[in-house]
């Protein structure tokens, strides 16, 4: 017969066995304190980083605007000969130059159009996709915000810059122009003093022809295998 001491030891042993072990929840509870600290740290780093990036982006934007202001004034009053250097200097600001250059096209100063187009090409060398989006915005507009030369230049540039993302937009644009008349065209003429500034029929035809040529060019670009050539390769624009 076991002694009392043995029986007590056996009972204690069984009692120990009956005690519940530390499950995962217990472990998590212990870890959670440390985990919270890590998560809070990561979130704060992420949020701060984003805020800093946004602020820096804003600062950069303002800096670019200040930087461009003088060049924009010079460009608008430049002669045909000096307009090109102003436009290229503007274009070197990348995405920030797209809107001012489109506005210069809208101003319709004769002799500035080749320069403004060259400036947009230069801007696209730095921020290809942004410039493509801005140009797509021109042909997508249906409120006659722009005169027909801006549309013509935008269509030409979309092709020149190989903005293959604009194919759908250009296809719809072409269909829209096919049924348009001078009175219903999505752009005005260049007779800025006229109260009803419709484009001439010949102007409408010019834009139609340009849109069609751009679409053909872009489709042929899209059908070619991607060899990594083009803007990204040569100029390292944003992918």
């Amino acid at each position: 017969m076991p002694s009392v001491a043995d029986r007590l030891a056996a009972i204690e042993k069984r009692l120990d066995e009956l005690k519940p072990g530390k499950d995962r929840w217990d472990k998590f509870e212990k870890l959670s304190v440390a985990l919270w600290a890590v998560v809070t740290y990561l979130v704060s780093v992420l949020v701060t980083g984003r805020i800093e990036t946004a602020l820096k982006e804003r600062e950069l934007h303002l800096e670019n605007v200040k930087d461009m202001q003088e060049i924009m004034v010079q460009f608008h009053s430049a002669t045909d000969q000096t307009a090109m250097s102003s436009a290229l200097a503007l274009g070197a600001h990348g995405r920030y130059a797209a809107v001012p250059l489109i506005q210069e096209l809208q101003a319709g100063v004769v002799g500035h159009r080749p320069a403004a187009e060259a400036g947009l090409r230069a801007a696209a060398a730095i921020d290809h996709d942004v410039v493509c989006r801005q140009l797509s915005g021109v042909i997508d507009n249906r409120t006659r915000l722009y005169q027909f030369e801006v549309h013509e230049s935008a269509a030409r540039l979309l092709a020149d810059l190989e903005c293959v993302g604009a194919i759908d937009g250009l296809t719809q644009y072409k269909e829209r122009l096919a049924g348009a008349t001078p009175a219903t065209a999505p752009f005005t003429g260049v007779n800025f003093m006229a109260s009803r500034n419709d484009p001439a029929a010949a102007d409408l035809d010019r834009v139609r022809t340009q849109a069609e040529a751009a679409l053909t060019a872009l489709r042929s670009v899209k059908s070619e295998p991607d060899t990594g050539a083009g803007w990204h390769r040569w100029f390292g624009g944003s992918p």
Binding site: D67, I71, Q74, H76, S77, A78, T79, D80, Q81, T82, S85, S86, L88, A89, G91, A92, H93, G94, G108, V109, V110, G111, H112, R113, P114, A122, A125, I126, E149, V190, N191, F192, M193, A194, A200, A202, D203, H232, F235, G236, G237, S238
Partner: protein, 268 residues
């Protein structure tokens, strides 16, 4: 930093540096001609005529006088109000030949109904003679068919005052003759059949005026322009007879009349 960004920044710096060097020196040389967008109707753009050895203030006065004389003269032409010429002065603008007129710029000028651009030099009197060189660009003329750029030199005995030179310049028939050729071509292109009759009258008038200005022996570009005007008259007659949209009297012209017009040098 990616190589793309580095390339972008380098490009930007380079362009800004070039602009900073080039712009201040060139920007003051010429001015933009903003009136081209604001003046309605057919336009003749008058750039600077440079009077040699004339102080800037006098130069300005002489240009104002020329603008006034020429403007009045153009207004006096017997044209209907809708197709009258408007003189658009562009002070400070001096094109540097054909290089100042790339095809896109010319097309934009034509869209704005600019028919003719004129600039030139009045040289210092020499040997008892006054020499003047004037450049003309007839915007609507197709470059692949005819040269729209013409330079003409005029000579006369020395005049007593610069005012007389200005009056002499304002009296050049060629200015309106070139503008008339341009107006005919522009109207046919932009209006089609409704403009055939006025275009025919313009071409006939221009042919006569140019014939008078060039004399019996036109040379090079002058002969080419005369031939072009004749060819346009012939083409217009033929087009009028076959264009169903045209309802005017040229439609009824007998073939013999058309053949006669085209046979006399108008079928080139």
């Amino acid at each position: 930093m990616t190589s793309g960004r580095i390339a972008g920044r380098a490009l930007r710096l380079l362009a800004v540096a070039i602009a900073a060097l080039v712009l201040p020196t060139l920007a003051s040389a010429q001015a933009v001609c903003a009136d081209i967008n604001s003046v309605p109707g057919f336009k003749i753009v008058l750039d600077d005529i440079q009077f040699a050895a004339t102080p800037p203030d006098d130069q300005k006065l002489l240009m104002q006088l020329l603008i006034s004389h020429l403007g009045s003269r153009l207004e006096d032409l017997p044209d209907p109000a809708s197709s009258r010429y408007h003189l658009v002065p562009c002070p400070g603008r001096i094109p540097v030949g054909e290089a100042s007129f790339p095809p896109l710029t010319v097309r934009d000028l034509v869209t704005r109904d600019v028919l003719l651009e004129v600039w030139g030099d009045v040289f210092r009197p020499s040997g008892g003679k006054q020499l003047v060189a004037i450049n003309y660009v007839m915007m609507p003329l197709p470059r692949d068919t005819v040269n729209p750029f013409l330079q003409r030199q005029y000579e006369r005995k020395v005049v007593s005052s610069p005012d007389e030179v200005v009056e002499w310049l304002a009296g050049f028939d060629e200015i309106s003759a070139y503008a008339t050729v341009g107006r005919a071509i522009r109207m046919i292109d932009s209006q089609g059949a409704p403009a055939y009759d006025s275009a025919k009258a313009d071409l006939a008038r221009a042919a006569q005026a140019l014939g008078r200005a060039y004399g019996a022996h036109p040379v090079g570009a002058q002969k080419q322009l005369l031939d072009y005007v004749d060819a346009q008259q012939c083409a217009l007659l033929q087009r009028a007879r076959s264009d169903v949209a045209y309802k005017g009297t040229m439609r009824l012209l007998p073939q013999a009349t058309v053949d006669r017009t085209c046979g006399s040098g108008g079928n080139q």
